[in-house]
Symmetry: C2
Subunit: 333 residues, 2 copies
């Protein structure tokens, strides 16, 4: 194993603490899982140490991304899917990064009551990621939290994100299966699918099927999917649900299972995961570079002078980019 390039600031005591916490996560201890994810969310440097120790035990969970615009009922749908999993004896972990989700601070009382059955179930671990209050990025925190839940032995890990057209968090690169939830009235997302500005996910669900416009919405999306060239691969199924009553939710879970089966056949799963991990490492590296550059503003006279020249219209933005790459980052593009 490659030696982690850890910051040299950890004391022997801290490393011992990280080792101990990792062991307890691997044993599936609920409080350890909560503690590890809190470290992740706080951007605590020790969390990276913990996750690095867990990583070799990840990759066992089925990971599912649930994305869609605010208000379509993602959380209620998720709640129904958790129930399906539990009925099949599968343990579940949830990371929610939707600021409008009832799993987060913005919970409406009714929602919390509806979801409370899962909060009390020892086989379910639900955690929302705040969009504030952590030093690292939300994307890193989400990935790390999902890895913790995977390492803790959860059979299924859901990642709930808010996505309108394009996801705020690129959930696709950290999960095996992407489920897009829409509803009657999701005109913008449907137009985005039609215009090709939004990628076709693995599964599409139209929630609120009791709504009078549900059929129109269903047919509109079906028309788009019919034109989609799935290249002989997975053909994204379109399902309807009424998450409030639970109608159709079992079928969504069946299709998720079918997609996972499809991925396993002929090694698609390994390939997808390999590609995802590669994309994720590059994306997170680039974000780190961005943060690094932002921190250097006001600190690095070369960077400040380049930016000042641009503001004064003496140096054009693209030449400035070349200067940043060459003088500040010392790479030649």
């Amino acid at each position: 194993m490659r030696e982690p390039s850890r910051p040299p600031t950890f004391s022997a005591e801290q490393l011992e603490k990280a080792r101990d916490l990792a062991q307890r996560v691997l044993a599936g201890e609920r409080r350890a899982v909560a503690r590890a994810i809190s470290l992740v969310e706080d951007g605590d440097a020790l969390s990276a140490e913990v996750v690095s120790r867990l990583y070799e035990c990840t990759g066992r969970a089925r990971t599912i991304g649930l994305t869609g615009p605010p208000g379509v009922g993602k959380s209620t749908l998720l709640s129904g899917m958790i129930r399906e999993c539990r009925a099949q004896g599968l343990s579940v972990g949830v990371v929610s990064v939707d600021p409008s989700s009832p799993f987060t601070q913005g919970a409406v009382l009714g929602d919390r009551i509806r979801l409370s059955e899962h909060f009390l179930d020892p086989g379910v671990f639900i955690r929302s990621m705040g969009t504030r209050g952590h030093l690292g990025g939300l994307a890193e925190a989400t990935l790390q939290a999902a890895l913790v839940l995977d390492a803790a032995g959860k059979d299924v890990v859901f990642v709930e994100t808010v996505g309108v057209g394009q996801s705020e968090i690129e959930v696709a690169s950290i999960v095996d299966t992407v489920v897009l939830a829409l509803m009657p009235g999701s005109g913008d997302s449907i137009q985005a699918l039609k215009a090709g500005v939004m990628e076709i996910p693995d599964i599409i669900v139209v929630n609120k099927k009791d709504h009078p416009a549900a059929d129109v919405t269903y047919n509109e999306i079906r028309g788009i999917l019919a034109l989609n060239d799935h290249r002989g691969g997975w053909e994204a199924p379109l399902l309807t649900t009424n998450a409030l009553t639970g109608e159709g939710v079992a079928e969504v879970w069946e299709q998720i299972a079918a997609h996972q089966e499809y991925l396993r056949a002929e090694g698609h799963l390994d390939r997808r995961r390999g590609e995802n991990l590669e994309k994720e490492v590059l994306a997170l590296s680039v974000r780190e570079v961005e943060r690094w550059l932002e921190r250097r503003i006001g600190q690095d006279p070369r960077l400040d002078s380049v930016l000042e020249e641009v503001r004064a219209r003496r140096l054009d933005p693209l030449s400035a980019v070349r200067h940043v790459l060459k003088d500040v980052l010392d790479i030649s593009a």
Copy 2:
């Protein structure tokens, strides 16, 4: 003026050509403008040389971003605003980066006929940016094209982008005023505004005001804006239009003018432009780093080995990021 860190590959002849083209753009020659933007779109290295020579003459145009989901009628609205500008004797440049826009290849015949009045007007220059076929990024190309039009003396430069929830191109950082166009049925975007996952733009337009649901949409957005804390600054106006008949379009143009006035008062415009340019340089630098990293896959054994370790679950993604930053990019985060 800082010496542009130009690639050393330009011959004296090429530099002469760039100088000549830049001069002709500054003189407002239509063919030169077209040629310069073609170079930009093709990702031709010479385009950077041309734009670097134009840059000191930019900053005179009013720049307006028009964004919104596909299908809301952005292009028709834009067409109406161009008419307003022309009636006031203002020359206009348009960069359209909406793949679903009639200004691009996907034009519906009726749209093209409707817009053809502007194509033939020498005071209007319209150019769509393809999403393929250029080596550089779309964001760079859009910025560069807008700079060319500004330098060519256009009084007003519009940048049309498709945006669903979050813009594909961060148009906000290259323009003075952002106009978001929605329509009845734009449920997802409205939910995204409400949930705070989409930023409040400078001006919101509800197009297709003759639609039966237009009032509901209008009131919904008004409710969101009423709750928005504009910190005593610009209060985003909400307007309705019927772009097909031209109804309400003059008012949109008035509000754009009012916003530009607001920006000019107390130096807001300079500050916003300065911040925009800074953001843009950092964002484009980061994108260049991303491309640089992608090119190194399969070329740089250190990068390949890091990615292989991650795929094999021997090195966790965040430790991998640290390796990429330290070993491949040689910066310590």
